[in-house]
């Protein structure tokens, strides 16, 4: 810990986590022996010493106000001795010493409109990003999409009736802050129109060589436009990645008419059974249709239902598709296969089918 100026503390880092551990956790730290899922959203972890800590997991919109946080604090004070945590998928986990408090807590949560679930063979909370709420890059909103989808999928959060865990993520642009590249189902905001260049602004806020070199496909060329030293975009070469906009504010891609959403399936990060996998394109484009994105929610729900119906126990979405093959996935899910599905990027060739092993 260093101090930079006399009056200001800096570089002190976060508070030490031990301050925040429930006494049972502190005592049994590293001694946990096994766990059981008592019901959807409720876990018990049992220590070598026989001690038990109960967890109640509740869904959260993630974009929450201080009043919302205070509200859950009230519940945690009442039932959890003031101890709680958040999960890597932005759920709230209430940590309970006393089994008797589980049901009252759940009742309290439900009263406040918070669902309990997300454990085991459920759809957990959707990892997501800023969207129109805060980001300059967004091709869609994130919070609204998530709300719309979770309303549809609610039942899969509060029960554990799927073949296995199903993890959904949303990212509002190709930067993929939601890390949608490895989810069971991913929703990705996309632009579909090359940047519209603001030549006047460009000359003030961007450097031409930098802007030119930011483009992965070399679509950007230096050009003099109406006497201004600027750039032009070869539209045939643009695939709307937005990297030029990140580097040069004068090249916005956002476009009401053309922005939208693509749907991806079959990724995972755990090493369980199969190695981690990337998500693969399922639907290249669905329109932005706020406030409820009906095309997107029904497409996602359809995929979930086809998975629920056909996958075997302990098969994640990607494992299921690998077993049945992509042709059958497209057929079962009723999706159209287009040229956009065929990779034409760096390792494209490695995704071609280089075998006769086909079902008919």
């Amino acid at each position: 810990m260093t101090t930079q100026a006399l009056e200001r503390k800096t570089d002190m880092g976060p508070p030490h986590y031990e301050r925040f551990l429930h006494p049972i956790i502190k005592e049994n730290y590293g001694k946990w022996r096994y766990h059981e899922t008592l019901k959807p959203g409720v876990l018990v972890h049992v220590s070598e010493t026989g001690a038990r800590i109960y967890t109640v997991r509740a869904g959260s919109p993630r974009l929450v106000s201080v009043d919302f946080i205070r509200m859950i604090c009230d519940l945690a004070d009442k039932y959890c001795d003031g101890y709680l945590r958040f999960t890597s998928r932005n759920n709230i986990e209430f940590l309970l010493a006393d089994k008797e408090n589980i049901e009252p807590l759940i009742k309290g949560l439900n009263l406040k409109g918070l669902p309990v679930g997300g454990t085991n063979n459920a759809i957990s909370n959707i990892v997501h990003t800023q969207g129109w709420v805060h980001c300059h890059s967004a091709a869609t909103d994130a919070s609204g999409l998530v709300k719309s989808m979770m309303d549809e999928l609610y039942d899969y959060f509060t029960t554990m009736k799927l073949p296995h865990k199903l993890r959904i993520a949303v990212a509002c642009c190709l930067n993929m802050c939601g890390a949608v590249h490895c989810s069971d189902i991913a929703i990705l905001g996309i632009h579909r129109r090359p940047p519209k260049i603001d030549h006047n602004a460009l000359k003030n806020v961007c450097e031409v060589p930098t802007t030119v070199s930011s483009c992965p496909t070399a679509a950007i060329r230096p050009a003099t436009v109406e006497g201004i030293q600027s750039v032009e975009v070869d539209e045939d070469k643009c695939m709307y990645c937005g990297n030029c906009f990140t580097v040069c504010p004068a090249m916005p891609l956002a476009d009401s008419l053309n922005d939208g959403v693509s749907i991806w399936v079959g990724g995972k990060v755990s090493n369980a059974r199969t190695e981690p996998m990337f998500t693969k394109l399922a639907i290249p484009y669905l329109p932005n249709n706020p406030p409820r994105w009906p095309e997107v929610t029904s497409a996602v729900k359809n995929i979930v239902e086809v998975y629920a119906k056909h996958a075997r126990r302990y098969e994640r979405v990607g494992e299921w598709i690998n077993r049945i093959g992509w042709p059958r996935f497209f057929k079962q899910a009723g999706l159209e296969f287009t040229k956009y599905h065929i990779d034409d990027f760096k390792h494209a060739g490695t995704t071609y089918k280089r075998s006769t092993q086909l079902t008919q």
Binding site: Y17, V64, N90, S137, R273
Partner: protein
């Protein structure tokens, strides 16, 4: 790396070459240019949007629809906050406009922050401030969360009070990298907010080309599978590298994530440049009486465990479970299904993987094995030594806006491991090369002896 500044390997691409074969100049360091960064904040004046009556009155018919349905509604929460906070109110208005126009209303970037820090704050300005003056500036502060996201209500209330005082009252709990995100501050509010935070014992996390806030799964705090102390390591690394966290000095961002076991509950392999994933190297511990319990309870061990083992190394012999540990790849599946009966071995540690990231610009990467097994013990000296060698390498050979994963692919994994003083190992690859384009580094001149 020290004293090796002049090494040049065979075959290393001197330029950065992207997926389309476009050659990028290696001196392309625009994002390190503070001058350039500064002007980004100034943005471009965008043309005015018409101001609909219902928006003036903060009628939000579109967003209102998001109050329906069983999942908790951020709109309801936002509206409540909007009654108290002008910033929240204008955010609501601008968001309704976005929903109407299917388009965001934020200007590009903006370089703001707290004195002495290069990271931790994301500047944000509205492009429609004439309509929504209170979100003219709407910056975020990324508050460094606690290891494993454990809190007391006391601590949370403290954070809420600070943010109630200085900002919009809106938050993300948590951001995708792991921070507790304060959403929506005026430029003026940043320093006072920071001051109150530090007084209460909190600090900012990362942003920009720096080390980002490390994060971890709940590990030994509440999980039987944890193979090392994810919380302590995360805290220790965060504290050790405060300077790297707060003062962007890298060629691009750097993320650490710590997962206690191969289930990887923080998605470290996909979402961090350096993933520490717990594992073990001795035998899985079996409690045969618990096996029997599971059987008695009706678990179909054959179909749910044995048939799903990727290495087919489990068998059941008269209710005795046998594991051929030599073939086991520590995938976790059998342990996941029968946590009471099976436990990781005792010789625990972690696999260190490097290079995970999102797709910009060369396509997404999953992290790949760098150290197949490392003992993870306080004070993490072996780990830190390794990290520092990697950073030195990256500093020297990385190109601006090139994540370490991309840098390694450009330079070649073989050259990279050699440079940071590791041995090339077959564990680093899923398979050896299949092309014959090998940069043999030596050849004999006439008159020289034949090699051994």
């Amino acid at each position: 790396m020290k004293g090796r500044k002049d090494i040049a390997w065979k075959g290393v691409r001197k330029q950065r070459i992207d997926q389309w074969g476009h050659i990028k100049p290696i001196e392309n360091d625009f994002l390190l240019n503070p001058l350039l960064l500064d002007i980004r904040g100034s943005g471009i004046e965008r043309k005015e949007y018409y101001m609909a009556d219902e928006i003036k009155k903060r009628k939000t018919p579109l967003l209102d629809e998001l109050e329906e349905g069983p999942w908790p509604s951020f709109v309801t929460d936002l509206k409540k906050m909007a009654e108290k906070k002008p910033k929240a109110n204008d955010l609501l208005g601008q968001l309704e406009l976005s929903y109407k126009e299917k388009k965001g209303h934020w200007k590009h970037g903006g370089l703001v922050g707290v004195a002495g820090y290069g990271g931790g704050v994301i500047g944000r300005y509205s492009d429609s401030s004439e309509l929504f003056p209170n979100v003219k500036a709407f910056h975020t502060c990324r508050v460094n969360q606690t290891s494993g996201w454990f809190y007391t209500t006391e601590a949370l209330r403290e954070l809420c009070d600070i943010w109630d005082k200085h900002g919009s009252g809106l938050t993300n709990v948590h951001g995708s990298t792991g921070d507790f995100v304060f959403l929506g501050a005026d430029t003026d509010a940043l320093e006072p907010c920071f001051s109150d935070l530090t007084k209460a014992g909190w600090d900012l996390g990362g942003s920009g080309s720096d080390m980002r806030t490390p994060s971890c799964c709940n590990g030994p705090a509440r999980c039987e599978f944890a193979c090392y102390d994810t919380l302590d390591m995360t805290y220790d690394i965060t504290m050790t590298y405060q300077d790297e966290l707060h003062r962007p000095a890298f060629v691009y961002k750097w993320k650490f994530k710590m997962a206690g076991c191969p289930n990887d509950c923080v998605a470290s392999i996909a979402r961090s440049d350096l993933a520490v994933i717990g594992t073990w190297r001795d035998n899985i511990r079996i409690d045969q009486s618990a096996v029997k319990e599971y059987l008695d309870k009706g678990l179909n061990i054959t179909s749910d465990v044995i048939m799903k083992c990727p290495k087919q190394c489990i068998s059941l012999d008269r209710n005795e479970l046998r594991i051929n540990n030599e073939d086991c790849v520590k995938c976790m599946h059998c342990l996941n299904v029968m946590p009471k009966a099976l436990r990781p071995g005792k010789d625990k540690g972690a696999t260190i993987l490097i290079g995970g990231k999102a797709p910009i610009m060369e396509g997404a990467l999953l992290s790949s094995v760098l150290v197949p097994f490392m003992k993870i013990e306080k004070p993490y000296t072996e780990f830190k030594d390794l990290i520092e060698r990697i950073w030195e390498f990256w500093d020297e050979h990385g190109v601006s806006r090139e994540r370490i994963g991309e840098c390694i692919q450009r330079v070649g994994m073989g050259n990279f491991v050699e440079a940071i003083g590791l041995e090339p190992l077959p564990e680093m690859v899923s398979s050896p090369r299949d092309n014959p384009y090998i940069f043999y580094e030596e050849y004999l001149e006439e008159g020289e002896e034949e090699e051994e």
